[in-house]
Amino acid sequence: MKKIYNRILQISGNIIAVRASGIKYGELAIVKTSQGKTFAEVIRINASDEIFLQVFAGGSGISTGDEVYFLGRHMGIPFSENLLGRIFTATGEPRDGGPHLTEALTEISGPAVNPAKRIVPTNMIHTGIPMIDIFNSLVESQKISIFTTSGEPYNELVVRIALQAKVDAIVVGGMGIRYDDYLFIKDSIEKGGAFGRCVLFIHTASDPVVECLIAADISLAVAERFALEGKKVLVLLTDMTNFCDALKEIAVVMEQIPSNRGYPGDLYSQLAVRYEKAVSFEGAGSITILSVTTMPGNDVTHPVPDNTGYITEGQYYLNNGRIEPFGSLSRLKQLVNKDTRADHRPLMTSMIQLYAFYRETMEKRAMGFRMSQWDEKLLKYGNLFEAGIMDLSVNIALYEALDMGWRILAECFTPEETGLRSELIKTYWPDICKA
């Protein structure tokens, strides 16, 4: 028999407190308010049986006399293949008018993977985007974030990568996204013909803040189950900045001492618990996480991108509609780019270094300095590089992109100006236009 508590001791922000005994830490409860039922989760138990709950639908409108009862279990999601092709809210309610799922619950926020059971990833995920494929290859089981600002086409980029990637399942966790963005993501996936291998958990900007946190955990729990069944899963999390802001809001209500610009001191650990779900299981499937982090004020030292950068395995800088070569980084690229083509790594390094020189030259030119012969070459190179490689509309396979790189170099420089080793020059330098 379930016990009902109807004396709420405290309501502050999205947190309420009741007095109850025998309650489990992290247990789920239902709060019945005049607006309907909502989930709540135990986040603290004080001496004298004071139980603090975070109310998914928010504290607004809750009355001290509302009923609370505990479910004796943690948050979960019914899991089966039937999830594919469906759209849900952050808490697992159908958003697409389809049936409620009734399968056995999979608990969210499960334990960490034993590091001894992880394997070194070796599969490259080809995206057709040279700035990714050549310079910062995406790797199966990687966790990587797109660092960007509002207004940039980050959802377009995320969806494009998802459609191009050869994966068995795509899990979309939308957090605090605009309704339009939700529709865009849904429509693009449908048009791309991938809807049947996709499941969406969408929390929009108008949904209660607490549910934003659940969206990430539920997406990852589902992804984990698919991966254990042998599927290659790609998880898209957009926008993790909203997730962090939700954490901040709750921390403030709980009167935690903030560490940096109001964010709680455990922001790093909180992000890590989610991002570290990315894994390749020996003898089973894998989880790759591609997230979006919008940087307030385009400031990479802001606590959200900063802590994200410290936990993800790299980031793609999306700025002015292009993936910037500087600041962008795939830390796993060296695991895969050694097995593509002998020129891949050195070409990548050399082209980036030359592009850095080009940027310097641009600065010099802006200040009105005379351009040397060398500067002129760099200017030519920079323009060709931006048009042929950097532009996001370019959609070519890796080897084609590498050949394109050599052609651009040969059009602009003599071989020894590129800093590439002699034997590579011998093999790959195109004859067409000896400088």
């Binding site: 025998g22 309650i23 489990k24 830490y25 992290g26 247990e27 603290r44 138990i45 004080n46 001496a47 943690h74 334990p111 960490a112 993977v113 034993n114 590091p115 001894a116 059971k117 992880r118 394997i119 070194v120 990833p121 089981s141 935690q256 001492i257 560490s259 940096n260 001191g265 455990d266 790093y268 650990s269 890590a272 570290e276 779900k277 299981f281 030292t301 606590p303 900063d306 802590n307 950068g309 410290y310 936990i311 395995e313 500087f326 060296q334 050694k338 270094q353 850095a356 310097e360 600065e363 010099k364 005379r370 040397s372 012969q373 060398w374 020894e416 100006e417 800093g419 080793r421 002699s422």
Partner: protein, 626 residues
């Protein structure tokens, strides 16, 4: 003795409040009984009948009212033969064996003893009945890999004991008694090959601590040449995310010339540890002809593992390091990242509602960090041998800003500072150690005079580079321009090193000395060029030769050929008259400094750019058409 028991009355993340009766020790280990599990915890604060404990596991599902058993002991690790080559979590559980038992996921409340109890070791006694011994004294030896592993009297037996009996030579497990001692009161004390030692108590059973004067060769050129590390010393590697801390540590773990490397992966990515676990058994250490894993211990509490155990992981690691130092070995402890450890302290401190210091870190941050690094050191042991523990800690400053508390606290205690910079890593200048910001108090491979000259060159070149951004290349004298190109050459082909190239990835100290002498000669040679374009072409070509040279194994025919190419190219630009009287780098630097001083003073006098170019022309600019 009756063990103290308690009841959980509050839960806040990994922190629980326990009402107890009886006596409880600060930092005592306790077990929380939850369902059929026993979750390990540590007492962190005691107030009246209430103790706050941090649980080393997830507290999910725990109820208030759960029982707690206090163990009476402090958080300890097991010391004995068989630690090498293992992968432990922060509490010294062997992760391989946990995986074999529980599969993909870590299971709460499951602990396995760190040392294999069924493995036998070939024991040779060295003590005999009648000897007087105390903690740390050797009673026998076993062979662990290529090391002679001393079996010692447990460190905690601090008083003198009589040896009653030592077992015959033979194969024994770590649980078998190998000796029997007797204390003052005549109480017999059996000794096995392993014993427990509390992780937060430094092992100090040596004769004396020595100054760290012997270089620890890392085979990373910029470190060994410019910012050396000593055996028994300490250093830190701070840098923003992605600047290359982990790669640098992995490289050091592979190439450093020490006996044992202990890697403490503290609150960072699991994937990085996996690379080490999978790679090290495959790499054969050329100096010992053994797989690298045989000299390595990995302690791993990665970021998604319980935060409380993260804090203890660095202590687990340092305690094992001290143990092997006691064998007379040189141990290098690499901790990545100490900031995550500090953050774990911050999380705990926040939950305890302590009064916070800067950025919410606890006020005692500085002293805890200092105490940790102070456990390093080169020591002379009681048997006359020497051993050392060197600590290298990565630091992950928030926002990449070195002013933050963890970096500052660390800087106060270490002997060398390898500052990684975002500019260098963005420009792919790896290892991204910034030569203008880093320092080392230790003695390295080159003379202090050479070292300081190189710093001057790099600093001056940086100024010239900055200046060039303002006045343009045409406003820079050819001599300054050449200094700039020389520094760039030194940076690109010597300070930078390709981590992923088999040859370039690790440079022996002998090869470093050799290549350095060639480069140093080039830096010291006066060359003549018709103009800047010619100079740039020359340095490009030179760089090309060196980049090839760096990837050729020493002793290969091509190695000598490349060296000849370099010398030939160099001589082409040394005027015949100058070949005998070489103008040294220091003179060039002095001149360039004087020039810049002169120009600055003129500029301060309010001369515009046009006049400035005349000044330069009067000096030694080659540009005809300014």
């Amino acid at each position: 003795m009756i063990k103290t028991a308690g009841i959980v009355s509050g839960i806040n993340g990994s922190m629980i409040t326990v009402e107890f009766s009886g006596s409880v020790r600060q930092n005592e280990v306790a077990y929380v009984l939850h369902e059929d599990m026993r979750l390990k915890a540590e007492v962190v604060r005691i107030k009246g009948r209430r103790a706050d404990l941090q649980v080393f596991e997830s507290t999910r599902g725990l109820k208030s009212g759960a029982e707690v058993e206090f163990s009476g002991g402090l958080l300890s690790v097991e010391l004995g033969p068989g630690l090498l080559g293992q992968l432990f979590d922060g509490l010294q559980n062997p992760l391989d064996r946990l995986a074999a038992r529980h599969g993909f996921f870590l299971k709460r409340g499951e602990y396995i003893t760190p040392l294999q109890e069924d493995k036998t070791w070939s024991f040779v006694p060295t003590a005999k009945a009648g000897d007087r011994v105390s903690g740390g004294d050797t009673i026998g030896t076993v062979i662990e890999g290529r090391f002679i592993h001393k079996i010692v009297v447990p460190f905690y037996l601090t008083l003198l004991h009589d040896v009653i009996h030592v077992i015959e030579p033979g194969d024994y497990t770590i649980k078998e008694k190998v000796a029997l001692l007797k204390d003052n009161s005549g109480q017999p004390i059996p000794v096995t090959m392993s014993f427990m030692w509390p992780v937060k108590r430094p092992v100090t059973l040596y004769e004396e601590r020595l100054p760290p004067v012997e270089q620890l060769v890392t085979r990373i050129r910029i470190i060994d040449t410019l910012f050396p590390v000593s055996k028994g010393g300490t250093y830190c590697v701070p840098g923003p995310f992605g600047a290359g801390k982990t790669v640098l540590q992995q490289l050091t773990a592979k190439s450093a010339e020490v006996d044992i490397v202990i890697v403490a992966a503290c609150g960072e990515r699991a994937g990085e540890v996996v690379e080490t676990i999978r790679e090290f058994p495959m790499i054969i250490d050329p100096s010992t002809a053994e797989p690298l894993i045989n000299r390595t211990i990995i302690v791993c509490n990665t970021s998604s593992m319980p935060v409380a155990a993260r804090e203890s992981s660095v202590y687990t690691a340092i305690t094992m390091a001290e143990y092997y130092r006691h064998m007379g070995l040189h141990v290098l402890l690499l901790a990545d990242s100490t900031s995550r450890w500090a953050q774990a302290m911050r999380e705990r401190s926040g939950r305890l509602e302590e009064i916070p210091g800067e950025e919410a870190f606890p006020a005692y941050l500085q002293s805890v960090i200092a105490d940790f690094y102070e456990r390093s050191g080169l020591v002379r042991l009681k048997d006359g041998g020497k051993g050392s523990v060197t600590i290298g800690g990565a630091v992950s400053p928030a926002g990449g800003n070195f002013e933050e508390p963890v970096t500052q606290a660390t800087l106060k205690t270490v002997g060398a500072f390898h500052a990684l910079s975002r500019e260098r890593s963005d420009a792919r200048r790896y290892p991204a150690i910034d030569p203008l910001e880093s320092w080392s108090k230790y003695k390295g491979a080159i003379s202090p005079a050479q070292r300081s000259q190189l710093f001057k060159l790099l600093k001056r070149a940086d100024e010239i580079g900055q200046m060039m951004k303002v006045v343009g290349e045409e406003g820079t004298s050819l001599d300054d321009f050449m200094l700039y190109l020389k520094a760039e050459l030194f940076d690109e082909v010597y300070l930078q090193q390709n981590a992923y190239d088999e040859v370039d990835g690790a440079t022996s100290i002998g090869r470093q000395a050799h290549v350095f002498s060639i480069i140093f000669d080039i830096l010291n040679t006066h060359m003549e060029f018709k103009g800047k374009d010619e100079a740039r072409r020359f340095f490009n070509e030179m760089r090309q030769h060196f980049l090839d040279y760096n990837t050729i194994p020493e002793g290969a025919v091509a190695f000598d050929e490349k060296e000849e190419n370099i010398m030939t190219l160099l001589l082409e630009h040394v005027p015949v008259s100058d070949r005998s009287c070489v103008r040294t780098l220091s003179e060039a630097l002095v001149e360039s400094d004087l020039d810049s001083f002169f120009r600055r003073s003129k500029m301060a006098g309010g001369i515009d750019k046009k006049d400035l170019s005349i000044v330069i022309k009067d000096g030694k600019s080659d540009e005809k058409n300014i």
